[in-house]
Subunit: 207 residues, 2 copies
């Protein structure tokens, strides 16, 4: 069964929340507490957890560690475990920092830049490699996920190298819309579009 995208996103958020409690002694949590902490309705949380086969216990709630396990089994994949980041500008560095410090099942395998001042440097303890080794690193390590944080003008050519090397999922931070084979999953995040969306939806009548 394939879960809907929104469900996967929420399950990912629940797990991150649950991580905070897992070192307590035999921790339990109620769906309404998950809901409150994630700013959702309790019925939504229960529905999501039912979808992956968890029902909890009316009196005690859900066992935190079991729930983490169950979410992990439901949404994680061996193939998605390793990622590469291409482009070590400020954004690439910010993302590398953030992910290195966060608790997540995915690991940054390598980071790349074209700038020889950056190659060889370490970012959050990860050595920046030259673009010429991109294809080889992806193939040798069987990496399927990449974060694209290069300048706009390089987006298409780098994306083509990535998919040619075997990348199947891209988080695209450039404003370029990539035209890639259908079996490549792309999530575009475009900050200008997002800001213009926010501007459109602010309730002007109340201002």
């Amino acid at each position: 069964m394939t879960l809907p995208k929104q469900t996967v996103q929420r399950l990912s958020r629940y797990r991150r929340l649950l991580y905070k409690y897992r070192y307590f002694n035999d921790p339990y949590i109620f769906s309404h507490d998950i809901a409150r902490l994630c700013n959702l309705k309790p019925v939504q949380v229960r529905r999501d957890l039912m979808l992956i086969g968890s029902t909890g216990n009316n009196r005690m709630g859900y066992k935190v560690n079991e729930l983490i396990e169950l979410i992990s089994r439901s949404i994680d994949s061996k193939e998605g475990e390793q990622i590469v980041i291409v482009g070590m500008g400020k954004l690439g560095q910010a993302v590398t920092d953030y992910l290195s410090e966060s608790e997540m099942y995915q690991k940054i395998c390598a980071v790349f830049d074209i700038d020889t001042h950056k190659t060889g440097m370490e970012f959050s303890g990860i050595r920046c490699r030259d673009m010429s080794s991109l294809r080889g690193v992806i193939r040798e390590n069987k990496i399927y996920i990449a974060i694209l944080a290069v300048p706009h003008d390089f987006a298409v050519s780098v994306a083509n190298i990535l998919t040619d090397a075997g990348i199947k999922g891209i988080l695209n931070f450039t404003s370029e819309r990539l035209s890639l084979p259908e079996n490549v999953y792309v999530h575009n995040f475009d900050i200008i579009t997002t800001l213009e969306e926010v501007a459109y939806f602010i309730p002007a009548n109340e201002i």
Copy 2:
């Protein structure tokens, strides 16, 4: 009439594309060219443009400058014109850089940080101010949109200051889900959730 979110996002992308052509001599563009360059279906583009009252011309296509005007009238708001960015860590700096260099109708009015090493410094020509002036700057300049790029632990308290000062739209880069008044529009971008989504949807059967 309120446009659907996805339509606003696409119109924003069309406009960014059109910007590239506007200095040509009396430029025209066909919907199928917009579609190709935005990686969409032509019928989608025509439907979106029809929604905002543009029909184009079968033989010549759409007048680029008129279309930019029309999109601007349809999605821009006076209230959404100015933004503040809170948190000048690597992410805040990357966002400030990127937006300063991009063509967009919104302008960064001010950036803020709590770190006294950063306050007074300039980021992309914009002086970083101390958090103590946040409320005042927002009120005096009638700013309604903020980008939240502070560390996770400060997200809730800063968001409360923002909305208390009159902010009505937030692009939230923290992993914290904010519990704000209903009249505040929040777009959450959570990179870990997004990466876990990408990992879930890579076509494992083909690997």
